[in-house]
Symmetry: C2
């Protein structure tokens, strides 16, 4: 049985390799808030367990065994997030921290039961895709709201889930997945964006807009996925 820390490393490597082309030890140290030395040691252990490839001059990457574990943990995490909101009334800024602890200890029984309770959901409350038990996950990428040109509209598909404060702010503005948005105007020189959210207008910063991922009306992936 792998410890919770090791699982967190695998999860972090998986997520970083989706976002970053090349994953380095320092990125892991950063993300996991541990010292670089701790990363070195853990990577050596994971390599001996055949969960990552990390030979000299070799790209750091998960083996398929490592990816399988990462996806199981991510599945737990996202199912838990959905469950905590749906069943226990958590708000979407609270679920990440709780799921972070629970994801390492729940049984397959628990996983199956909340999956069924939720009606076998495909996405968590932030719009992140939930891997199947077989490890299949929809990793299509979406453009950000900041990239929408004035006049264009789209549907929010996902928001960045790391910052509770930002999530609460998004919530106050109604910026949830599945919500329709239209870019009305982009003030120049890093200025605010005027956006229509459902029926109201908001002026938001570009940083926030960069953390909101949308599918454009005219996109190739604009159906209900």
């Amino acid at each position: 049985m792998l410890g919770a820390a090791a699982q967190d490393y695998l999860k972090a490597i998986y997520k970083l390799s989706l976002a970053e082309e090349r994953v380095t030890p320092s990125m892991l140290a950063d993300r996991l808030e541990v010292s670089p030395a701790a990363v070195t040691k853990m990577l050596r252990r994971l390599q001996e367990l055949k969960l990552v490839n990390y030979g000299r001059s070799q790209e750091l990457a998960l083996t398929s065994a490592g990816e399988k574990i990462a996806l199981e943990v991510i599945r737990h995490h996202r199912l838990l997030e959905a469950y905590l909101m749906e069943a226990l009334g958590y708000t979407w800024d609270q679920v990440d921290a709780e799921a972070e602890k629970l994801e390492h200890v729940i049984s397959e029984e628990f996983e199956d039961r909340i999956d069924e309770f939720l009606g076998f959901p495909t996405h968590d409350p932030h719009g992140d895709p939930i891997p199947t038990k077989e490890g299949v996950v929809d990793n299509r990428r979406h453009g950000t709201l900041a990239e929408l040109e004035p006049g264009q509209s789209g549907v929010i598909r996902r928001v960045t889930d790391g910052d509770p404060e930002m999530l609460r702010y998004m919530g106050r503005l109604g910026l949830y997945p599945s919500t329709q948005v239209e870019m009305l105007h982009k003030e120049p020189f890093g200025g605010p964006l005027r956006v229509r959210v459902s029926d109201t207008e908001h002026a938001i910063g570009r940083e926030l807009a960069g953390n909101i991922f949308v599918s454009r009306k005219d996109d190739e992936c604009n159906g209900e996925s």
Copy 2:
């Protein structure tokens, strides 16, 4: 923050001291399935943390700080057991193992939410009392079904929760807390007991009956507690 293992020691000491008058290291080693040496070391740590009293020739006992933690963990455990059955359809022989892992990681938020979901229950599915957040717990003891004399009847208040196989068997016989039972006949020389459970009769062994705790009709504590 105390590790999960240390919490398990405190919980074990608490439970043993309810049942056993004197708690010894070997009893802990037994119960927790660790070596006696591990117990010695952990007790020294817990003593330094002022969670147990264990001076030379001093009775092993929890300090009030230690008892507080033990009761918190037990509260988590029993709320979780009730929740898993009520909300997720677990059977009563499955909940102990799952609660054992979850009890150490859930937040106070989670605790409060499942408590509310359950309507602030006072007992878990096996009839064990759930401590309040303030650490108050109803530790009244009940006699066993085996002690009921022919002709006497009572209400099941609690069953021993440690053995899933036994719980499933009890379930098949309808031996749940709140169920009415009547002792019809006790076969001599360790023979079976004929018992009426609700409307059906069963012949059960004395070992089983010793793991079922009842309040007699004429007891001092026969009300709905």
